[in-house]
């Protein structure tokens, strides 16, 4: 968080309404997102209690475990969940496009992909744990489960893993996305409460948002008071209908909030790089679908040394790209860098479009641009710069004094003796330059897992899910 966001929070607190911290939407929003609100049994790691889910706001599905301590009923619930989620996921596999690649065979990418939206980080964690607790189950042997259960586990694991990639939109948490676009007048800790955050964004703060009788928690944990006074007696009463009705009262308010959150996000124009990141999501999703189709075993319990390093590199790459893209897509995000002196914006007051450097064969076109700015520039001469106005262009800072910055364009102005039309900004144009550039070089290769070196424990034992995994008690 930066001072810019802090100021927005102060303003929100003062005016009693959340303030924007983004001018465009930085996540992809699917046409038909799957809203998924899971509840778990208190005191357990990931024992499901209920879920409300669906793609139609007028028609939520309620899935309930009428006796949460009964493991058969839990698996039946998981199978029911699979009955809703798997058709949704598989529904995207039919329509694909062929993608050509350099140095690799072309592959098939789905033209759209599923998107799961959960209320909060707790919901994300539950998806991960539910995936972990179902993907190793067997359809035969001592504790058989329906075929769809381990498959569900693999997909849930995939969605939870993918959510760790910055900028991915395959699974979103509503509070996270709202918090990326609006600053409330409360702390980020309190922003984890969906009802409270939404009330800041829509009508202003309300103590009701923290009253579990008015707004039940958005899960996965339930309100302890509800557990004691309503749920426990209902379960003891042995009436599945009563349990289901009790849980419905806890889920329906959140269901409405979730769609309100989606509407709010949909009201923002999409950022310029969102489609590109969604394309990567689609590629990743297609890859996972191919794995499933090939019958590869479920994801391991923990990453091996090579897998961990590979994942870390990809996540760091995604983080860096996401940071740069958000700034380039959104002047309000770029303003954070302007405030710290890593970017500046202003009006062009002078240009030398035909400036050249060097002699003879090494003579190069290096147009100069002088910009007048009110921003505090903290960049050293020679720093490489990029600009959101001309994304393919490269520039270099020549000097910065007293609100006047001279920049020299080094790349992307055409190959001719004079700059291509439009490549050099005109006097009077507003431009922004920043040292934030996305010049990723590719990362060096890692050894094959079988060739893990001695420093990292040597080649790992090959992982094969065993009976113990499949029979793991589900108390």
């Amino acid at each position: 968080m930066s001072l810019l966001t802090s100021l927005a929070r102060l303003r929100a607190l003062d005016e009693g309404i959340a303030q924007p911290v983004a001018t465009v939407r930085h996540c992809h929003l699917a046409e038909r997102p799957m809203v998924f609100i899971p509840l778990k049994l208190s005191g357990e790691a990931a024992a499901p209690l209920a879920a409300m889910l669906g793609t139609d706001r007028g028609d939520p599905r309620l899935l309930v475990v009428p006796q949460p301590r009964n493991r058969d009923l839990r698996f039946a619930w998981a199978a029911e969940l699979a009955g809703v989620l798997l058709p949704y996921v598989e529904g995207f596999l039919g329509d694909t496009e062929t993608v050509e690649r350099r140095n690799a065979d072309p592959y098939e990418r789905t033209v759209d992909a599923p998107q799961i939206i959960v209320p909060n980080q707790g919901g994300m964690a539950f998806v991960r744990l539910l995936g972990r607790s179902t993907r190793f189950r067997r359809t035969d042997g001592p504790y058989p489960v329906p075929e769809s259960v381990p498959l569900l586990g693999r997909w849930l694991t995939y969605f939870a893993e993918r959510a760790a990639y910055p900028g991915s939109s395959l699974m979103l948490a509503a509070t996270d996305e709202l918090g990326r676009h609006w600053a409330s007048g409360q702390s980020s800790l309190e922003d984890a409460n969906l009802a409270a955050l939404l009330s800041w964004i829509t009508t202003g703060p309300s103590d009701d948002a923290e009253d579990p009788l008015v707004w039940p928690p958005a899960g996965p944990a339930t309100d302890p008071g509800f557990d004691a006074e309503v749920l426990a007696p209902a379960i003891e009463g042995g009436s599945p209908e009563r349990v289901a009705e009790a849980l419905r009262t806890q889920l329906e308010p959140t269901w409405r909030l979730m769609w309100q959150a989606i509407d709010l996000l949909a009201g923002l124009p999409e950022g310029a790089s969102v489609a590109q990141r969604w394309e990567q999501d689609r590629g990743s999703f297609s890859g996972m679908a191919a794995h499933v189709a090939e019958g590869t075993p479920p994801q391991a319990r923990r990453d091996g040394a090579v897998a961990a390093a590979a994942k870390l590199a990809r996540m760091e790459r995604a983080q860096a790209a996401y940071d740069v893209q958000r700034a380039y897509d959104d002047p309000l995000v770029m303003a954070e860098y302007r405030l710290t002196g890593e970017a500046f914006a202003g009006e062009v007051i002078e240009t030398v479009p035909d400036n050249v450097e060097g002699e003879g064969r090494s003579r190069k076109l290096r147009p100069l641009v002088v910009i007048k700015t009110d921003d505090p520039v903290r960049l050293a001469p020679g720093t490489s710069l990029g600009t959101p106005q001309r994304r393919t262009q490269g520039a270099e800072l020549v000097s910065a004094d007293d609100g006047l910055v001279t920049v020299k364009i080094t790349k992307g102005m055409g190959r001719g003796r004079t700059a291509a039309p439009g490549a050099v900004p005109e006097v009077g144009e507003r431009v922004c330059y920043t040292s934030l550039t996305d010049d990723f070089q590719g990362s060096p290769s890692l050894p094959e897992s079988e060739a893990t070196p001695w420093t990292h424990g040597g080649p790992p034992q090959e992982y094969t899910p065993d009976d113990e995994d499949a029979q793991e008690e589900w108390s």
Binding site: A308, P453, W454, H456
Partner: protein, 425 residues
């Protein structure tokens, strides 16, 4: 009684053929580079090829220069990335070849490059490697290059800053191969039987600093200074004007430490008053014609022998903008790692803060800032750090299976602060 530095080095060299890996912990200024150069020559003398891994281009260039200086008969290949421009002095060195591919280097005794560059090299295995600054190297980098060598000597300072990532790596915590841990942590967790040697003497830190740094940051292993109490001195040849800055410099010249304390105030990070105090101290130090005397003789403390250190980049920018001679190094703790100066001026990471964060309390940060000097260290801080430490909520999350790291940042900060309070002006 601990072994002498010479004995430790001999033990290390003797262990090399006996173990697949040997680790040497080196506290600040304990002769890590000397050891690397000596081990390099020792291995080269066996006739077997050697690769050396360092973390930054500066470190690589520095090692190349040192090896050529000490052992001019050795041939060295300096492997670099495409955009690297070798310093002129390197091109003038006999026996050194610079290239972006192994094939360009001929067949030198030693090939040296950064870890990042080595990660792109394949299809050859060196019998020996030396990995420098191994505690600052992330284990995923080691994973990329460990296939290139059969045996290795790992050298580094465990007290400096740990490697980090811009993404959250909690998912791997507790794994013995956690990619965010340092190369040495991961190496030792998989190979607990490898010998770990410790260089016992800091040649950089004066007798006034070694005990403080040793107790605060190396509480279990410790080290001593190579020089005695009277062996280093700092003289201000021009007279002072009795200002607080002058008195701070005089205290530092006298005792090796000074704390210039500003009034207690909660400020923005780029606290103008503190920045100005830092800048003034540096200017006065030059104006007062400081002369440093040591076992290496007497020499004036010129601007290039002075460093200013801070925690954040915006602080560094503000200090640079305060008009210091460009020869004075101004940088963050991260970038001052492995460097050495006669006098350092430090903006205390907790100065003017209202709450201490994990970043500010990281012991490695303060360790780097407090251990770059040969003669004296002047710290600028606002009053109130003791109260700030006192009010710090200690509720750090705990990950299962992750060895507890010492020293604790809180304790280390407290220890340094207590020492500094005796040199307050």
């Amino acid at each position: 009684m601990t072994d002498s530095p010479e004995q430790v080095i001999r033990n290390v060299l003797a262990d090399l053929p006996r173990h697949r890996g040997v680790v040497v912990d080196s506290p600040p200024g304990a002769g890590k580079s000397t050891l690397v150069v000596r081990a390099a020559a020792h291995i080269a003398a066996t006739g077997e090829p050697l690769m050396i891994v360092a973390q930054t281009n500066e470190q690589v260039d520095d090692l190349v220069a040192r090896i050529c200086d000490k052992h001019p008969h050795l041939t060295v290949g300096r492997l670099s990335a495409g955009g690297y421009v070798p310093p002129l002095r390197m091109l003038e060195l006999p026996g050194v070849r610079v290239g972006t591919r192994i094939q360009d280097l001929g067949d030198p005794d030693i090939v040296i490059a950064t870890a990042d560059k080595w990660a792109w090299i394949g299809e050859r295995v060196w019998p020996w490697a030396i990995v420098d600054e191994a505690y600052q190297m992330r284990s995923d980098k080691l994973l990329r290059i460990a296939g290139l060598f059969e045996r290795a000597l790992f050298v580094g300072d465990p007290g400096q800053l740990d490697p980090f990532s811009i993404v959250d790596g909690d998912r791997w915590s507790g794994l013995s191969w956690d990619p965010l841990q340092s190369a040495v942590s991961v190496l030792l967790r998989h190979n607990p039987g490898l010998p770990v040697h410790r260089l016992p003497v800091s040649w950089r830190l004066p007798a006034s600093a070694a005990p403080v740094v040793s107790q605060a940051f190396y509480p279990f292993t410790g080290f001593r200074s190579g020089t005695g109490p009277g062996d280093r001195w700092l003289e201000l040849t021009a007279g002072g004007m009795g200002t607080v800055h002058d008195r701070a410099l005089e205290e530092a010249a006298r005792s090796g430490w000074a704390l210039l304390e500003l009034p207690n105030r909660h400020t923005v990070r780029t606290d103008g008053e503190a920045v100005q105090a830092v800048a003034l101290l540096a200017q006065r130090l030059l104006q007062r014609g400081a002369v440093a005397g040591s076992e290496q003789g007497e020499r004036p403390v010129t601007a290039d022998r002075i460093a200013v250190g801070a925690a954040h980049r915006d602080q560094v920018a503000a200090i640079r903008a305060a008009g210091l001679p460009p020869e004075i190094t101004v940088d963050t703790a991260n970038r001052l790692q492995g460097r050495e100066y006669d006098v350092t001026i430090v903006l205390h990471p907790l100065s003017g803060r209202r709450d201490a964060t994990a970043f500010h309390l990281e012991s490695g940060r303060l360790c780097v800032l407090a251990s770059r000097h040969r003669h004296a260290c002047v710290v600028v801080a606002r009053a109130g750090i003791a109260e700030l430490l006192d009010a710090h909520p200690s509720a750090e999350p705990v990950q299962l299976g992750v060895p507890v790291k010492f020293p604790d940042g809180w304790e280390a900060n407290q220890a340094v602060l207590e020492h500094l309070s005796r040199h307050r002006v």
